[in-house]
Symmetry: C3
Subunit: 351 residues, 3 copies
């Protein structure tokens, strides 16, 4: 159901410290904490003794101590002490998940640890670059299949309806183009010489028409970059000159919690007015309004999907990019599953 | 499970306007609204695209616009516009349900629209007659099988126990008679020369004994008329002269929501003191107390039934009318099902 | 799943009166009340007519009257009246459960009434003895398998971790001994010449080290006696002289509610300062804090067990007594089941 051998955003860097953070990822219970040297640790949130959550325990140095009977586990998941005895029972090791902290996020590898390769983490350098100001946000729990976020963001036609009061107005009929890459699907839409959308009008202070772009790039398994902006109409943005306007990037991560729920992580980068806290405040407020509209739609679609298991959806032209992304992801998951099956079969043949 | 080819009360007329009302009926999600000319419309509450509820959208003239991607549906359920394209995909039509507004209620036909015949709507003329004053009430959600309302109202023996403080007192042993008609079952009970029940004493101002009647008529699938009143003892009510007392009719409609829940619609008609708002207020209060007692009992029986799936109920003499009504309804449902089966078989044979 | 032919604590004596108390025991709904002479009665909480809960009805003398249609049941579960008719339908009798009030508790026998033998009730005489003061407590609902309470109390190694702030501190490594009896398992642990635990320091006013004991006796199916105390170090407690300190007994009863929930009854006896209400108050507060910690652990283990149905727990040395108690209980249940099976088979062979 989920792609395992890949990096997911497990937490914002600023969520982790010397406390214990419990989070369900890909239907597995994980406990996060930081070692004394600051390194992020992710372990299975289950004492191997009686399955009491380790997240209800305490840290002792880099070791996590179960809150019920005091069993201790090191950062590799090895049980290193059972109070009242000198040995440790067989089978007491729990899972440890590789983690990497980068771009202000803690990435977690839920698959085969041997395959965890930090160079596969997407290059979202703006989140750690002096010319860009990044806002982070605590993950929002969403009651929906994580793939619905890609469907939502890859189809700009919904903006005119769902986001009437924030982003959209008269752009439903503006056509968009699609491009596909190795591991990505992109949608590009330019709206030329039109009034600015309410949020951009507020942020950019436009008094005349703008050229407006939406460039949305989905990357497997569940990251969506939104490159959004408006420049004074005719000032050359479509040819690459974005100097006469307002530009932002938002990164959206739909990390699966369970089959039908996900953690919605998002960040927002801008390359103007870094230190203007008021801009930050307004941006966060406006984004959160738009997000809550998306979440309402995603949860409504999930509820409708659950409600009518026997009915078939219909597709519109605007669904093209979303369907392509889903197909690509399904291909990756199928490949991973059949690889796992053939490894298991080989193992059995050897045995 | 439900009788389909019949009229159900879907809403009170005063519940519908230019907003969108979502309601689950017979396990189907329905959205109600009024056209610009006031006609009531009932559509499947499901955009055929991604199953987002249409009730979260907007009206544009007589057309309903999906709140997510803006697909538009007319009053027949036909998809008439998909933003961003000029054609409409195959399979995008949704269900429309025939509706009729009559007697202050909006009736809905959940079965084959070709069979919807407005002349089958029960004739409850008092709800639209100058000599009668009718109170309407928003439907009450009940956690129970809709047939339990018939069981309840057709058995007056419960009044002495469940409605001690409102309707009943010493009448448990008074026998009742049962009559059966084509599509109805009736229970008749006269209690002669006894003190008035608390509610009637308040409304009728009786200072001496009364003759009291309860004439309850169940009509398939789920309407129950209650003809209730008290007259001065010996003043001739039993022979048809109801002039020396207080008379009321209440109409009860248990429209199924799901298998184990229903919407309890009720109305209350009286032919005295039309303009006395205080009488209306007291009546509504008293009826709602009695109803809440019935609902408590219905929900308790439903819970008990769910709790003991393997135990068999026992029947008492007072259950006769209720059992007869259930048998009749089952016969109608079975007939409808076997008709559907034979139509399907004929269709398959032809194909 | 449950042992049936044995006594369970069904209620505290002070919970019962002339009202109706509904409680689920061993997955059966029971209604408790007292007869006019004060005798405790326990009946199936189900009117045999439509399964309306009898606990929503009323008492009429020693008879319980259903709140819906007025059927009456005597203390043996026999239906003695159906309003509106002179006879009583076949199959209208409901179950009555033997009860005995003893030691301030009402014991209930959920199995074959013919086998109910009051002499099998455990002898916890301190709860009814002038030299001991007993505190009773309303049962606490716990979301866990009732056997988890035995696991918890029979393993004193958890005290140092779960009860840091109340009972425990540095005693995790103190070894304990186990003894097994006919129907009981006992764990004994002495901690000599150590500072008093916070709760005992408060109650006993110790200024120097103490000798401390924990003697925990589980008795099938679900009673755990905790004999707990501290005396001035070296004053002879280990040889039986408990005069220089503080001694308490707590009795814990995990009466199953459903498969995964139980009612936690507990009492607390002390043989000092009977009339000091402040000691009673502090004791109750401290015990409730420790209990809430145990309950948190039990509910956490239950959740973990449900979460990982395919994973195997590991055992530690400290689990020995708990595992032994579970094995013994399983033996009793298996024996009861196979006896039932052979009786059924014999009955079938005869028929």
């Amino acid at each position: 159901m989920f792609l395992k051998n890949c990096w997911y955003v497990g937490a914002n860097a600023d969520e982790l410290g010397r406390g214990l953070l419990a989070r369900t990822l890909l239907d597995e219970r994980v406990v996060f904490y930081r070692k004394e040297d600051g390194t992020a640790v992710a372990l299975e949130d289950r004492c191997s003794h009686r399955f009491y959550p380790l997240s209800k325990g305490d840290l002792k140095g880099d070791v996590i101590v179960c809150g019920y009977h005091g069993l201790e586990f090191d950062c590799t998941g090895k049980c290193v002490r059972v109070p009242g005895q000198t040995d440790v029972p067989q089978g007491s090791t729990i899972r440890a998940y590789p983690t990497v902290q980068r771009w202000g996020l803690v990435w977690i590898w839920m698959g085969d640890p041997a395959k965890a390769d930090a160079s596969l983490i997407p290059d979202i350098w703006r989140q750690d670059h002096p010319e860009w100001k990044t806002l982070f946000n605590p993950p929002i729990p969403v009651q929906g299949d994580y793939r619905l976020l890609g469907d939502n963001l890859l189809d700009p036609s919904h903006v005119a309806f769902l986001h009437k009061t924030t982003l959209g107005s008269d752009v439903a009929e503006v056509p968009h183009e699609m491009e596909a890459f190795d591991n990505s699907v992109r949608v590009i839409r330019w709206t030329l010489d039109r009034p600015a959308a309410p949020m951009f009008a507020r942020l950019g202070g436009f008094t005349s028409n703008v050229d407006r772009w939406q460039i949305i790039t989905w990357t497997a398994p569940c990251m969506i970059e939104v490159d959004l902006g408006s420049c004074v109409a005719g000032s050359g943005a479509i040819n690459g000159d974005r100097s006469q306007g307002v530009e932002m990037r938002s990164y959206n991560f739909a990390t699966p919690c369970t089959e039908k729920t996900f953690h919605y992580f998002w960040t927002h980068c801008r390359n103007y007015k870094h230190d203007d806290d008021n801009i930050s405040k307004i941006t966060r407020e406006q984004v959160l309004i738009a997000l809550s509209e998306d979440i309402m739609a995603i949860e409504g679609v999930q509820a409708g999907t659950d409600r009518y298991p026997d009915k078939r959806t219909i597709n519109t032209r605007a669904d093209g990019a979303g369907l392509r992304a889903r197909r690509h992801l399904k291909g990756l998951i199928d490949a991973e599953q059949s690889e796992k099956t053939s490894i298991n079969e080989a193992a059995r043949a050897t045995a």
